[in-house]
Structures are given as C-alpha cells and as structure tokens.
C-alpha cells in the first residue's frame, strides 16, 4: 500500500471488509468489495453506501458571499434561495475560465446570502481553491473545509427509507436537489438529496471525527434493507448509464458547457460570471462538436479514447463501458454536430469498426 496516499476516515473499514483499493486523485479508495456489476445492480434495486470523502468542500462566507459566489458560478444561486423555513436548493453547474473552458463541475449549496458551500471534485480541489482565493476579495472569505469534512452517499430505491429513518427531522419529504442541516452524534451534518447515480437517496456532509460512526450507523439502519458498501467502480458505471459527466473524461479546461450538453446549467441572463462572454461568442460562432450518447449494436465495449466515425466526420469516446443493466456497450463521445437520434455511427474497438446508434439520454 502506498503510504503517500491520503485516507478517508472510512479507510480502515474498507480494508477490514476486503475492499480492493486503488489510488484515485491522491487518495486510497475502494474500487469494489464484490463484483462491480453486482454492486451496480444492487444500487438500482436496493440501496448502497459510498464513501466520497475525497471530494473537496470550499465555503465562501461573509457579506455578499452569494453575489461573489454567483459571479464565479454558471448557474444562478439567487434561484436556489427559498422562502424562510423552506429548504434551499442545491445547484449543479460549472466553474469556468475566461475562455469558457470548464475548471470543474460542482454542486453548490447556498445556506444563505452569507454562506455558500461548493463541493469540488477531488482532483480539482487545489486548483479551484487557488482560483477562488484570487476572486473572493479577502482570504478569510474562503474557507477550505475539505480536510475536516467527510461525505457519504446513500443511493438506491430503498435509500429514502434509510435516510428518513436516520434523519427523521429533515429527510422525509425533502424534494430532489435540496439540502438541510441536521445533527449526528451531537454535531451538525448537512443532508442533501443529491447524488451521482440517478437513484433516490442523498449525500451527507459530516465532520471527519464522526464519519466512521455515521457510516456504521447507516449500515446498521440499512441492514434490514440490505444496504451494501459500493466502490468507485460501480459509481462510474452508474453515472455513465445516466449520462452524467465525469471531470477529466467529458469535461476539461478545453471544453465548454455548450459542447458538453450542459447548456442547461448556464444562466446567461443572471448577470456576469467568469466565462460568460466567451460562451456568448461561442454561441454566435457556433459550437463545432457536441457530446452524444452511443449504444452499441454489435459486440464490443467502447472505452475512453476509442475513435468514432460518423456521417459528418470523426470523433472520440470520452467514457465507455459494458452497461450492467443493458448488457450492451454504451459510450459518451464528442462528435461533429448534427447527428440525429437513431443514426448509426461506428466505434473502433480492437482494430475493427463496430456499429452503434445515437440515442438520447439516459441509457437506463
């Protein structure tokens, strides 16, 4: 085991329960405990728990925190604030550079006008912290809570029942993409109806000192629901079946939200935000490639980097796998604009061009 890898508070539990571990973004994380396909199908049919403590948490605070945050974020945080007493919205969106290129895709949790939490991809925490430091006015307005915060996800059709049992004060009736404060072991936690699998349930931000206890409490509460631990392997196949983007595959600094099919997270009319001008220019000039979904019609599993051939030119697979629910190869790929749903494309797999079809998401 590599001693320079960071470990989440749940690490000893993963190892004790036979998880196969792998380095990911500098962390020693569980890929799987059983087989990936089993874990995946279990999340779609019952409930699973994921350790996503490697993710980062950056909080912008102080007077005008919401305005400051909103100028960095492509979606509109003003729309997230609900009337007094109602749970606020968690918003998915992008942080862009001046060229409209994606620095990270994030979920943002504005608690109020002076407190906005960004959940950052593990691989981008340093980058985004440095980027924000220069843009929030003064250093004490940006708090990096990553080291002290763990995050657990509970996902699946039985997850709402599990979370309602653990957080009866806030979870029951909480609509999708909302969040609320609760407590666990006497300390505050944030419970959100967010997730990366397309199933019901949620994610919980918990102080690291209580994280393992919370994990164990979830496993105990979930025992009668057959809650199982799920690794990053299944997390990836689950999100891909839904067509969710993964930073580093579908998204990077040379890709704009318009190309990635994320136009829906842009609120151009809300006022200025970093990258807005570049996006307006790109809208005018026209986008030259777009992210599309391909379902294989022949044997073969498309993978990242495989070449795609369409009637309008070539492209490339960003993510691909054998879909555990469909039993077919599925892929996201950047291709030239204009492909219609139902159109045939070919993907080069092990030296042979194999047929797939353009479909609209989700795959499952």
């Amino acid at each position: 085991m590599n001693d320079s890898l960071r470990k989440t508070p749940i690490h000893p539990w993963h190892v004790a329960h036979g998880a196969i571990m792998t380095p990911f973004a500098g962390w020693d994380m569980p890929v799987r405990y059983a087989q990936i396909r089993e874990e995946h199908q279990h999340v779609r049919s019952a409930v699973g728990i994921f350790d996503v403590s490697h993710m980062g948490e950056l909080r912008i605070v102080g007077p005008s925190a919401l305005e400051v945050a909103n100028a960095l974020f492509s979606n509109d945080l003003e729309k997230a604030l609900k009337p007094e007493g109602m749970p606020n919205r968690a918003l998915y969106g992008t942080l862009l550079n001046e060229r409209g290129g994606i620095l990270d895709d994030v979920i943002v949790y504005p608690a109020d006008r002076e407190d906005v939490l960004f959940c950052i991809n593990a691989s981008n925490v340093e980058k985004i912290r440095t980027w924000m430091e220069g843009r929030v006015g003064s250093p004490e307005r940006l708090i990096d809570e990553s080291a002290g915060t763990a995050q657990l996800a509970v996902q699946g059709p039985k997850a709402p029942e599990l979370l309602s049992g653990l957080f009866p004060d806030v979870y029951p009736g909480l609509k999708m993409m909302r969040f609320a404060k609760s407590t666990f072991a006497g300390a505050p936690v944030c419970v959100a109806t967010t997730g990366y699998t397309g199933e019901g349930g949620g994610e919980i931000f918990v102080p690291i000192e209580n994280a393992l206890r919370l994990w164990e409490a979830i496993m105990e509460e979930g025992a009668r629901l057959d809650c199982r631990p799920i690794g990053l392997g299944a997390r990836d196949t689950l999100r891909l079946e839904k067509g969710f983007c993964l930073y580093g595959n579908e998204l990077d600094e040379r890709t704009t939200p318009l190309e990635a099919g994320l136009g829906w997270v842009l609120r151009m009319e809300k006022g200025d935000f970093v990258g807005r001008e570049a996006l307006l220019r790109q809208k005018e000039e026209g986008v030259r490639r777009e992210l599309r979904a391909v379902k294989m019609e022949e044997r073969g599993i498309p993978r990242h980097g495989y070449a795609v051939r369409t009637a309008r030119g070539e492209g490339s697979v960003t993510s691909g796998t054998m879909s555990p629910m469909l039993g077919l190869g599925i892929a996201l790929a950047y291709i030239p604009l204009g492909a219609e749903e139902g159109e045939s494309v070919e993907i080069e797999i092990h030296g042979k061009w194999r047929q797939g079809v353009i479909i609209s998401l989700p795959f499952v």
Partner: protein, 124 residues
C-alpha cells in the same frame, strides 16, 4: 488461488495444456481474480496464425481491458464460442470451461513456466 500441476504457464498469466497434438490456452485463476468479473472476451478467428508473444485477443472486465498473448507460435484450430454469451465462465472455471483457444503449434517454446515456476512468479 489455484495453480494446476498438469500444465505450463506464461509470465502473462496464461496456461497451456497439451491435448493430443494441440495446445489448449486459457488464463489462470490468478488472472481471473485480478480482472474481476469478465464481461467480454474477444478471440481470433479459426485459421489465424499466431506469433509467439503477440496479442491475439482481449479479455475485459467492467473496468479493464487485458490483451491475451500467444504463448507459442501456431495456428488457431478452435476457439471457445461459449465465451461469447457466457464470458463469466472464465471466472467460474478458468482451467476448464473457461479455455480460450486451441492451437496447432508450429514451433516449440522455451519460455513456458512449470507450475512451480509460475507459483514463484506470482509470489514474487
């Protein structure tokens, strides 16, 4: 982790067993464990001529793609068609129903390992 005495092995975690004048090839128990659940196998067409050490097929799990390397030069005379619809046989019975190809060798190989040598290779 099982290593059978009745066959030879390669450093790439394949086994080779003599069957009359043919050689049967598959991947080892160690290999299938490392891979995880096999979801796809691609094998050469019958009649293909293989060169020793060259990739001749692919075995894939959900997360990984692994090349299969020809342990010996020869002609492919049979492939295990069951692996098309039941790739998981590679996990369930890597030394039996999970066999992959049968080769009529054209040359000998002095690179094959005995069961003991393979055991050392896996340990080391």
């Amino acid at each position: 982790m099982e290593i059978r005495e009745d066959r030879n092995y390669t450093r790439d975690h394949e086994w080779i067993r003599k069957e009359g004048e043919l050689l049967v090839v598959g991947i080892t128990d160690f290999a299938q464990e490392q891979l995880g659940e096999v979801v796809y196998v691609e094998l050469p067409t019958v009649g293909s001529v293989l060169e020793a050490g060259e990739p001749f097929g692919v075995v894939e799990s959900t997360k990984s793609v692994s090349d299969l390397y020809a342990p010996i030069a020869g002609e492919v005379v049979e492939v295990n068609a069951m692996l098309v619809d039941a790739p998981e046989q590679v996990n369930a019975a890597p030394y039996e129903d999970g066999w992959m190809v049968k080769i009529r060798p054209t040359h000998n190989s002095d690179e094959l390992l005995t069961a003991n040598q393979y055991r050392e290779h896996v340990r080391g």
